[in-house]
């Protein structure tokens, strides 16, 4: 682990157990973008979808590319036994 990871991990000690293997993505990529993925039609009050894969019929993380951010949260939160 490099020094920057160690520095970061000092600040994430105390992370809840369920978050130790979490993934990260840019939040704006987890929901469809007006003018990019769809255009809202004021008359029908519905979106016209140019990117059907962006519809959030499923969990938002289905659509975004969420992955580990490279920090070792396990190392920061699990103390090796003596």
């Amino acid at each position: 682990m490099d020094s920057s990871s160690l520095e970061k991990n000092r600040h994430v000690k105390g992370l809840p157990l369920f978050m130790t293997h979490h993934t990260v993505t840019e939040n704006s990529l987890t929901f469809p973008r007006a003018g990019v993925d769809f255009v809202y039609d004021e008359q029908t009050q519905k979106a016209v979808w140019s990117n059907p894969d962006s519809t959030t019929k499923w969990s938002p993380t289905e659509f975004s590319d969420t992955k580990p951010d490279g920090y070792d949260y396990v190392a920061a939160n699990f103390v090796a036994e003596e």
Binding site: P16, F18, N27, A34, F38, Q45, N77, V79
Partner: protein, 325 residues
Amino acid sequence: MSVVLIVSNTGDIHCDFLVDACARQAAECFRLNTDRFRLSGVVDWRVDTGEGLIEIDGRRCRLSDVTLLIYRRPIPAHQLRTDIEPWVRRLLDSEWNAIECALSQAVRCKVLNGLAGSALAQNKIVQLQAARDAGLSVPETLISTDARALREFAARQRCVTKGIVNAFHLDGKDLRSAFTSFVDAQALGQYDPTGVPTLLQRAVEPAAMWRIVVVGEKTLGFRFHGPELRQVADSRPVERHLEGAYLPVPPHVAEKLLQMRRALMIEFASADFIEDPLGAFWFLDLNPEGQWAFLEDKFGVRISDEIVGLADLDKSPVENRKIHH
């Protein structure tokens, strides 16, 4: 006049489904998308007399005409702006949020979901207690900051861990998310939970998982199974690969789940159960704002019609009542 008022955002496809359901049931629909309405919508509300009018895109809605109010993931439009100071963004969204929340008190009809109930129902501790009170089977669950208690609990059975409220957390522009995961009982000995409430739950062996959508007094059951189910603690990453079917919910489960819904003071929930190899149903959790459009798409079950069907028919003109379910 009978109007279904939807408070949401332009990119929520569930609301597209609801707009279609309104058309099928000859109910007028007013979609208040907060990403547009907070910037250019018109509100004219005499709070002392109760007369309220909202307007956008040439469409108008009197609050007294609303027969069903649906909240579904409104977004803070001003916080997405870059042309004003952050504190002004927060202030504006806070004021708009107050108005949108107050709509639930101004309309005299069903609200899906009532905001107080919805907020409380997102809490997994509250859910599990309500499920237990309703007579549903709940897996052994421990929330503790005590290292020894957690270790002993995990040593007795295979366990999972998850967030107490939700597993999505904003970090600046990033979204950090975590699925339910299995717990390594041995490694747990090296984890210090001091100051960190930790939820452990017995991992129930799945023969199948059920997504049961509750709308008012109806339960719509979807049973999923497949080898992938045994390999993960959270079905969401694999649910596209599972085989599924729309099936009646066993009456004893449906009855208790409806009892639980009433206790939580919500009209809608998307609940997850595990069916174990002996056929017993174990309540895991529910989401008062859960996704359902993929179920309508995949199985052709009109969940949107069930939701719009909650509109208060007594407030509708007689000629409209014939058309409603």
